[in-house]
């Protein structure tokens, strides 16, 4: 189980963006896993099972700290993607066979690097929505933000990730 710790740390850091919070969440996960080993019973892959527990710990952690994190103010860079009248400065180009990338380990490293560059609050909302699969209404409640603000954060996260993958993966 120790060998899974590094993996879980990386997974938690990606979403919590705070080494201490990630360490706490992983610690709680391993403790819960050891206490509930019977629940594993070889039914699934060990990593899948541990990650499942960790997801709950991550949401608990986000819930605890989210109110302290200010909303991002660095709108400038993304606003620059559009001209004054709302046209793309540079139109998104087509990506060829993007699903092939899903078979490549290096693609996920690139994706993680891009996720790590998002502002913290955007990253948390985005991961809760797209990775943990929460409904927007639930995310708003958990993080105490309005639905409109939630949509703005998700929109900015998607714009930024698209740009980042365009530069660091699809144009290589």
């Amino acid at each position: 189980m120790e060998s899974e710790r590094a993996y879980l740390m990386r997974y938690a850091s990606l979403q919590l963006r705070d080494a201490h919070a990630a360490e706490d969440a992983v610690q709680e996960t391993l403790v819960a896993a050891l206490a509930g080993q019977a629940g594993f019973g070889g039914r699934s892959n060990l990593r899948t099972w541990l990650t499942g527990i960790l997801k709950h710990k991550i949401v608990d952690a986000i819930r605890r700290v989210s109110r302290d994190i200010p909303a991002p103010t660095d709108e400038g860079e993304l606003e620059a993607l559009f001209e004054r009248r709302g046209h793309w400065v540079e139109m998104p180009a087509a990506w060829e066979n993007p699903d092939q990338s899903l078979e490549q380990k290096q693609f996920f490293s690139a994706l993680e690097e891009c996720l790590a560059r998002l502002p913290v609050k955007s990253a948390q909302v985005f991961m809760m929505r797209e990775h943990l699969g929460y409904e927007t209404g639930d995310i708003c409640k958990e993080l105490d933000v309005t639905p409109t603000h939630c949509w703005v954060l998700l929109y900015r996260a998607r714009l930024a990730l698209r740009e980042c993958l365009q530069k660091n993966w699809f144009s290589k």
Binding site: D99, L102, F107, F108, T136, C150, L154, L161
Partner: protein, 63 residues
């Protein structure tokens, strides 16, 4: 009906992944997508992002 700019269209594309768009929004967006390759690509790409991020950390993806 007001013609959507790419900025507005891309906002609706994103929100369409998070809430059900209204009738006028859906029609406006569809008209915009008919004539705009950039937003059509953007629309495919945010859906791809959803598939990719959902897969992060699956056992198939070894560190």
């Amino acid at each position: 009906m007001k013609i959507l700019s790419c900025k507005e269209a891309s906002q609706l594309i994103s929100q369409g992944l998070d809430r059900r768009l209204g009738f006028a929004e859906r029609v406006g967006l569809r008209l915009h997508l008919l004539i705009c390759d950039g937003c059509t690509n953007f629309s495919k790409q945010v859906k791809f992002l959803r598939r990719a991020v959902a897969r992060l950390g699956r056992p198939a993806e070894k560190p």
